[in-house]
Symmetry: C3
Subunit: 328 residues, 3 copies
């Protein structure tokens, strides 16, 4: 069974959200369309919709991330679900068998959805393949592999500002090689038919499959952002530098840090994105981060709405339309 199939039920509806890989443009577009509907919930006096009332969402975080966990917790609560936060000590689940026993136990408690964060690539797929049919899974980041809700919130932010992907030039800047965020972004950009996709990175950090992803590769930031509509900066994983694959933070900023000056070759109305949290003075300076082209905080807001959309597509009892309580 292909990975795409694992994510869909017999009717082709979203059951798990593990990776962008293998999902159709139609499905990605449906996620974006649903997200549109959920944006308004945050503007209501009562910021809740009852789409997942009585459902249990368990945040299974094998890797601590308060920030990511909070976005899923908020999305679940806005959908009126109950949330269990379980920080699982990886040492206690070193054996795959024990991980399955943990899973079976939570299934037996009639948990409806697992939001899984794990340091190992493929962990979310492993769980999804072994999960009971009544359970849904969202991958909240697995190793270097995938972080699909981050990818989709970026796509939503781009569509919000720029409309049609076919007309756009989008540049992704940074440590492409190790980034699950970049992988999800590039797959989504390709699936949505983005006109031109660029990768800008040091030679050591370009993945072998860059061309397979249909991306043009640049080693120079100023060249790479020329005439771009969208510039996505990746977060620098500082621990990578110890491996010698990256120069010092200072040197990195000299070569790949975004400044107003370097942005000057991009389209005048280009937007700048970053998944956060920003290392100011490393990936970009504060003038850019807080400047008029930055949509970084909109990405955060959109992140809640995208997660609500995906959660409700997987386990919602009905769709947003026709919910008296929502007021939409």
């Amino acid at each position: 069974m292909s990975r795409a199939n694992v994510q869909l039920d017999a009717q082709g509806n979203l059951k798990h959200f593990l990776t962008i890989d293998g999902l159709s443009r139609e499905l990605l577009t449906e996620i974006l369309d649903q997200t549109e509907g959920f944006l308004g919930v945050a503007e209501q006096a009562v910021k809740k919709v009852p789409l997942c009332r009585g459902k249990i969402v368990a945040n299974l975080f094998f890797e601590t991330s308060t920030r990511t966990r909070t976005t899923f917790e908020l999305a679940a609560k806005r959908l009126s679900a109950d949330v269990l936060n379980l920080n699982i000590d990886t040492s206690a689940t070193a054996k795959g068998e024990t991980l399955l026993d943990t899973l079976r136990n939570l299934e037996a408690m009639h948990v409806d959805m697992f939001v899984v964060r794990h340091a190992a690539s493929g962990a979310a797929h492993f769980i999804a393949e072994h999960a009971n049919p009544h359970v849904s899974l969202i991958n909240a980041g697995d190793g270097r592999h995938s972080h699909p809700t981050q990818g989709m919130l970026d796509m939503f932010t781009i569509r919000q500002h720029k409309g049609n992907f076919a007309d756009l030039c989008v540049a992704v800047v940074g440590d492409i090689l190790h980034s699950r965020v970049a992988r999800s972004q590039l797959l989504a950009l390709k699936t949505l038919g983005t006109g031109e996709i660029r990768i800008i990175a040091p030679r050591t950090l370009i993945p072998a499959q860059a061309q397979a992803l249909g991306a043009r590769v640049f080693y120079d930031l100023r060249e790479g952002v020329r005439d771009a509509d969208v510039i996505i900066m990746l977060r620098l994983q500082r621990e990578r530098m110890q491996g010698g694959m990256l120069p010092s933070e200072h040197e990195y900023f000299q070569l790949f840090g975004l400044t107003e000056d370097r942005l000057s070759t991009a389209k005048p109305n280009a937007i700048v994105m970053h998944p956060g949290p920003i290392n100011r003075g490393v990936e970009m300076d504060s003038q850019v981060a807080d400047g008029p082209r930055s949509v970084i905080l909109e990405q955060v807001s959109n992140g809640i709405a995208v997660r609500m959309a995906v959660m409700s597509m997987c386990i919602g009892t009905q769709n947003l339309q026709g919910q008296g309580e929502t007021g939409v």
Copy 2:
């Protein structure tokens, strides 16, 4: 005042649930009957009933146990209660006086129920004896003494599969001496009039009062499970082995580990139980744990329903019948 009386109010209704000791067969049967009604809640589209809406349940865990805490949190949320999770550093409450001050503070905040886990036997009783009349207590495990909701979920699982206790032969296998789970199971089995109760354990792990509990003692697993209807495996507390009371894990499995072969002397439709989490290859092998006689995951599901039953009997505003929202 006897311990049984502490648990009941003036009308004989359940006020605290601290131990099986001293509770009548009628009351245990009422808990099992109430549990039956709550099983269906997990099957509803909206898995909630409003029996404890507006009530505050505080999980007072002086001993960390994510697994047990989660079952009580889920049960409380399905009853629409609000939950406070308080992991209390035992060192900060070394003096009994300070524990009482903690208790008095939470009472003053109008908490309705405390779910207490503590390493000291008798801790839950101590708190119940000093608690204000408007507060209810559930013992979620105190030292070697008692774990009554575990005992009752086991009874419920047995009744579900086997019906009348009078006709049954039930064998409990493992470290009876140190197990609060075993103590609760044996008391409940006796109170419910179980036909034959057996204990199977190494000689060093048989408690002095085994015969007072009305149990037949076996030192050989194959002999002990012969013609049994129900086989309850206890979890091996690995830390006990350091005291020299237990052989190595490998030797333990050789003598008391359950295998399909050893199960062959039991009744053909015998069920196998375990409170979890299983040490696979120690208490039983995976063939048994995942085999057709294992009801281990049903125990987990039943555990939520039993805890809902006990919580609502103690602090519910009305009973399950007549709740429009439940659909039962």
Copy 3:
């Protein structure tokens, strides 16, 4: 802009609650009046009012305090808000810039209120000054500076027992110099027009501005409590003793510990208060703490109601009157 103004919106309504400093007697009285209305909620069968339904309250605790966090969590849940508990590692936010990025992120997630606890004096003001207009802030204790909800729950408890502040003599006993609680109490007592305010402390622990606060200073406990209506004991911060500013605990109790004997010079119906948790045998003995004049546990109950009042004044969608669900 003065600090008082930061706390009020253009219509003079409470927007943030950071300090008593600069708030009018009218506003403090309104908080006390609102609190009166919320006291009854804890007596209802369903202890909830829907004033903050759909609102998100984030507990931003840069300094761990399970006790204080619990009171705000309970208050928010009784108002039907959703609560996020975020324990923020101070080391991760050593730079003010990063603290602002954390803030901006939570704002972008449409969090409605931050309850902030921080070891640095002024932290809550710093955040309030940089927060977006749609966000409200409550100071849950910042360094030595302020703990305004504690101050107001003390005022409420005094008014409940004694009525008019103008007729009262109130003595505050202990480490005034380092106490944010004392600072908030003294400002509130003065603003509410308390007849006579006294400070009783060792010479080393009297702040320079004692007279500016309008307080009479005493170095002898028995003298200081003579004819007092209200005696507020401060909690002894044990870590202060290492700096040599305080004698040993034993010596402190000999000089400033409250006993029934020392209380004999106070008014016969005087009340004794303490913010908790009590160091029994240090600030007072158990006879006083548990005696008929102690209102310490009432302070705890009132604390929930005061926090509900302040939260709903800042972010409630309507006021308590006219809420069908409340039954008031």
